[in-house]
């Protein structure tokens, strides 16, 4: 193998500089702040050691937010992948209306999460909500859907999954189009059925795409913020909050910047751990094409 010119390493410098400026430095600041009691804006900070981290584990609202974050992360990943793969399989062949389905599936991504949340808020709201207008046709009275935390969490999960399923569709479509047709032709000659083809050819060869889609969706779901803010604002109470919205709430509204930073560090470590486990799992599963 030809040895790489060492001077080419200099090309890393711009990226490293920017990464250092916008990721490493703020992250180091966050670690520092997490050991202080600070309101987020005054020039005075009081060192409190590990107290903020201890408080995190005794905060019931944090655990609600953490549980919701897992629901948003894992739930969105499952729903988006199932829906994305189904649509990708549907549009992988040429037929009339194929492009229309692709466009319709991808279109919600073009709307910001915040706007999508507001649209859905007007759909689900108690007064003049579209859903209540629909059930009124069948003689039912209006319901305050989002008052129920379980419905609130489900609504956020479904809206987010529906909005970003198009991303999965694109990833799977690219993966499907990379699978050589010869495998299917050989299987057809051997008389293999469609489901068996999918189970033994498509699915194993899609593992690199599944790996990419799952990790992207999982990280996206774990970092969910904007839809929650506009759809439920984390309420009622803190019942639909994710860790990200809870961090923002603690930092800016409750003026507990040190505590919010401690939560940030904890969730960073959690996402890092999950990403490493997922990566190593899919690395083992990937099939060499």
């Amino acid at each position: 193998m030809k040895k790489r010119n060492g001077k080419m390493n200099l090309l890393y410098i711009p990226a490293l500089l920017l990464l250092g400026l916008f990721v490493v430095y703020p992250f180091a600041q966050e670690i520092k702040v997490s050991f202080f009691k600070w309101n987020g804006y005054s020039q005075n900070m009081k060192f409190v050691g590990l107290n903020n981290f201890i408080d995190v584990f005794h905060d019931k609202n944090f655990w609600t937010a953490f549980r919701n974050t897992l629901v948003y992360g894992i739930g969105s990943t499952i729903l988006q992948n199932i829906f994305g793969l189904a649509v990708a399989l549907l549009v992988d062949t040429k037929y009339f209306g194929n492009k229309f389905i692709r466009t319709i599936t991808y279109m919600p991504i073009m709307i910001s999460g915040l706007i999508m949340g507001y649209i859905m808020y007007y759909f689900l709201s108690f007064d003049n909500g579209v859903l209540n207008d629909i059930i009124a046709v069948f003689g039912f009275g209006p319901k305050d859907w989002l008052r129920n935390p379980v419905i609130g969490v489900l609504a956020i999960l479904i809206v987010n999954s529906w909005q970003f399923a198009g991303n999965c569709m694109i990833i799977y479509l690219a993966g499907l189009q990379n699978i050589p047709k010869v495998y299917y032709e050989a299987a057809a000659i051997d008389g293999v059925g469609k489901f068996a083809c999918f189970r033994h050819i498509t699915l194993p060869l899609l593992v690199p795409s599944i790996s990419t889609a799952v990790i992207l969706n999982l990280i996206g779901g774990l970092k969910l913020y904007d839809v929650i803010i506009s759809l439920t604002n984390g309420g009622p109470g803190h019942s639909t909050e994710s860790v990200m919205t809870y961090i923002s709430n603690r930092y800016f509204q409750a003026e507990k910047a040190g505590y919010a930073s401690a939560i940030g560090i904890c969730i960073f470590l959690f996402i890092l751990l999950v990403s490493i486990i997922m990566n190593s799992y899919f690395d083992r599963k990937e099939v060499e094409l």
């Binding site: 090309l11 711009p14 500089l17 804006y41």
Partner: protein, 464 residues
């Protein structure tokens, strides 16, 4: 490609991003006060037709950064005022209006000690921003500041830090048609008992008595801050007079805080509040008032102006907060509305003060009053064609003989940092109005009150 060419290409490639990095770093380092924290500004509105990249533009004119907590129609009016100012003075203004994130942006800017040249202080000119603002007692307009405004913007040294273009009023707002249909005469509501009787009648007529948009929990905090806490604790005729103990930090939350918050739970249990408390937002609250879907909304009368903008033919009015015990007085809360302060370290002091002068003297305050439903903070200035302000003055005439005015409750009687706690406590009770729910909310209020008081007491001791 030979080695020399590769080196040239590499050098060019690295030079461009490095140059950008250095430019941005040196820009911030050379004059920290002039760097723009654009990442924080979710909505930056450049009023100038010609964009300028620094505060000193190439033509030698000054460019001011102005941050305001205005949104919707209030922002539109302010933008036109700023456009006229630019035309008159040649000073360019970069107007930043981050909307609901305004406080967040300002807190971030304070943390980095990099503030706009001029900003609105939304009630916190003394307690939060005075360390960052320049005193303005030497300005020409100072003598015109009304006593109401002076009461809420003057610190213990007698300094003011803002031009109080307008002051806001917090009170009880009502839909006159709803009250009439329920057989209620608004000006006969003087006491808590009268108010609760009115709620019963409105409920009996099939309308929600009180609407709170609790999706934004600060509306719940606004309700107890305007109505419940002053009526029960600090007004003339309060159920448990506690102004002194609140201010010296000895207030007994278990003994006295409990019945106060129980009152809020009683309102929930009696069905006085809207069914969709926890999911309705502010716009829905304002529309409900305008459309006659509720009898009362309690907060700043800006909400009345907004309700009127949604339903122009709505018949709305204003009432002072009722008193609890016979012989007490009705109360209006007076606080900062559009109040403009100047950063003490601004490089554009003259231009910033010129903007304040312009607002004070060029007859723009009536326009602000019209959109905000607020009252001029300078004497001798009309409030324009403001429906909400007119309703407020009508109410003053009706209750004239028995009125008191006080600062906004939390700014006067609570340590800083309690607003979010009040929001959480009201939401908690709205979701669980049982004895346990009230107990938990009171304990939350008590713990945070004591904690924040501990931080405040050394400051008070230093001041006196």
């Amino acid at each position: 490609m030979n080695y020399k060419n590769l080196k040239r290409m590499l050098a060019s490639f690295m030079f461009v991003p490095l140059l950008f990095s250095l430019m941005s770093c040196s820009g911030a380092g050379a004059d920290n006060s002039e760097s723009k924290n654009t990442s924080d500004d979710s909505k930056t509105v450049s009023v100038s037709k010609e964009k300028s990249t620094s505060k000193e533009d190439s033509g030698g004119g000054t460019s001011l950064e102005v941050a305001v907590d205005l949104g919707d129609f209030r922002l539109d009016v302010f933008k036109s005022i700023i456009a006229d100012f630019e035309k008159d003075t040649g000073i360019k203004v970069e107007l930043t209006a981050p909307g609901p994130d305004y406080e967040t942006v300002l807190k971030t800017r304070m943390a980095s000690n990099d503030l706009p040249d001029v900003w609105t202080t939304h009630g916190w000119s003394v307690m939060r921003y005075s360390d960052y603002l320049m005193p303005l007692n030497d300005q020409d307009w100072y003598d015109s500041v009304t006593d109401d405004a002076k009461n809420v913007i003057t610190d213990e040294k007698g300094d003011i830090y803002v031009l109080p273009a307008t002051v806001g009023i917090s009170a009880v707002m009502y839909n006159a048609d709803v009250l009439k249909a329920a057989g209620i005469v608004p000006e006969e509501i003087h006491t808590t008992a009268d108010f609760e009787e009115a709620c019963e009648k409105i409920k009996a007529s099939g309308v929600t008595p009180i609407f709170i948009g609790g999706k934004e929990p600060s509306n719940g905090a606004g309700f107890i801050n305007t109505y419940l806490l002053p009526m029960m604790l600090t007004n003339d005729g309060a159920a448990y007079p506690s102004a002194d103990t609140l201010q010296d930090g000895t207030f007994d939350w278990k003994k006295t805080g409990m019945p106060v918050m129980q009152k809020f739970a009683d309102y929930v249990n009696k069905g006085y509040l809207n069914e969709n408390y926890s999911t309705a937002d502010t716009a829905e609250m304002q529309k409900s008032l305008g459309e006659g879907k509720c009898g009362f909304v309690v907060r700043g009368i800006l909400n009345l102006a907004a309700a009127k903008s949604y339903v122009p033919d709505a018949n709305l009015g204003v009432l002072p907060v009722p008193y609890y015990k016979d012989g007490g007085k009705n109360m209006f809360q007076v606080g900062e509305s559009s109040c403009f302060g100047v950063w003490k370290d601004t490089k554009n002091k003259e231009a910033a003060l010129q903007l304040l002068d312009y607002i004070a003297t060029k007859n723009v305050i009536p326009e602000l009053c019209e959109t905000e439903g607020s009252v001029p903070g300078l004497s001798g200035i009309s409030y324009g064609d403001s429906y909400a302000t007119e309703a407020y003055y009508t109410s003053i005439k009706q209750f004239e003989s028995n009125l008191i005015y006080d600062n906004v409750f939390d700014r006067q009687y609570f340590p800083s940092g309690m607003w979010n706690v009040m929001s959480e406590a009201t939401t908690e009770i709205a979701l669980d109005p049982s004895k346990e729910g009230v107990k938990s909310a009171v304990s939350l209020l008590g713990e945070n009150f004591n904690d924040n008081m501990k931080k405040l007491i050394p400051v008070i001791k230093r001041c006196f």
